[in-house]
């Protein structure tokens, strides 16, 4: 049975039975796309399996990468208040050479508790870490997050293409909460409680769609940067 199991897993592109330590909840959008694809496969509409109409991009492989930030930046947990930064890291090593990146979207969900004691509006600053911590030279991707909205989507396709073609450049992201319109980042905010419980209310995941030409030969082959 082990041999049979190994050969079926290999067929699925896996080298062993996955045993994830923590499992993130399955977003409803993925279940919806799965059911659409099951219908398309059952009715033989294979062209639908190479386009993700929910995201409006060609693609036959969708991954929701789990944030490994806490594992890759353990020193962050020790940081004393005020703690307004959270590191995020996504391990993209599972993306293979013959896959073409079509979409990469960072989904940030800020829990209610991260804002309880803070009345002023907040800005969320998402930065790409480019230098070695602790003084990373960061390229800013500034986003304003009003009080009512708690989900933020950031298009990271160019960043993920760079990380994928040059894996050493993938040092993760930093998310920072700042008072709205405040350029002086020395004035920070003091969220409730300790750093750790502030951070656990900020959940991040990276939704990536890729296209493999072997399974979807009809779609044009966009020039790829050599790794």
């Amino acid at each position: 049975p082990q041999l049979e199991e190994a050969s079926l897993l290999h067929f699925m592109g896996l080298n062993k039975v996955p045993s994830p330590r923590t499992t993130q909840p399955v977003p409803s959008i993925l279940m919806k796309i799965f059911q659409e694809r099951q219908k398309a496969a059952a009715t033989g509409h294979y062209q639908k399996l190479c386009y993700v109409k929910e995201f409006g991009v060609p693609g036959n492989l969708i991954r929701l990468f789990q944030d490994q930030g806490a594992l890759s930046h353990p020193m962050e947990v020790a940081q004393a208040p005020p703690c307004t930064q959270k590191f995020h890291f996504f391990n993209l090593s599972v993306i293979t050479q013959d896959e073409q990146l079509m979409m990469a979207k960072l989904d940030l969900r800020l829990g209610l508790n991260a804002y309880n004691a803070l009345q002023q509006d907040l800005e969320v600053m998402v930065s790409v870490v480019q230098g070695p911590a602790p003084q990373p030279d960061q390229k800013l991707v500034l986003h304003y997050l009003p009080w009512s909205q708690r989900v933020l989507h950031v298009d990271l396709l160019d960043v993920v293409k760079e990380w994928n073609s040059n894996p050493q450049s993938n040092l993760g992201l930093v998310l920072e909460l700042l008072p709205k319109g405040n350029n002086d980042s020395t004035m920070t905010i003091y969220p409730e409680g300790t750093c750790d419980n502030w951070r656990q209310f900020i959940q991040a995941s990276l939704m990536v769609v890729t296209l493999t030409h072997q399974e979807c030969p009809r779609f044009p082959h966009f020039p790829r940067k050599r790794r």
């Binding site: 039975v17 994830p20 796309i33 496969a41 033989g44 929701l64 990468f65």
Partner: protein, 114 residues
Amino acid sequence: ATLSTMESTSKHLCQRHQMVINFEDLGWHKWIIAPKEFRTNYCKGDCPFSLMSFFNSSNYAFLQTLMNSRTPEVPKAACVPTKLSSISMLYYDSYGNIILQHHEGMVVDECGCG
């Protein structure tokens, strides 16, 4: 008698037989999110030369079975899948990432002598 003989023979002729793959039986339900199981078929049965025209067989199957009646070490044509389809699967990988991918050739729709 003929009918029953024919009928009993037809049971041994190449045809598809339903099979249900249940991932819990394989012990994979912890990492496969969906589907929990899927229906497919397996191919089993004989490919006698006299009935080859009933099957959607390929030309080489005819020739191979013809040769089998002259030189037994050439095996008869085998009962194999002749139409396959894919399924989509939603599962966790070892990093806890969620993957939605469709896998070609996972479902056997039809069988024949090939």
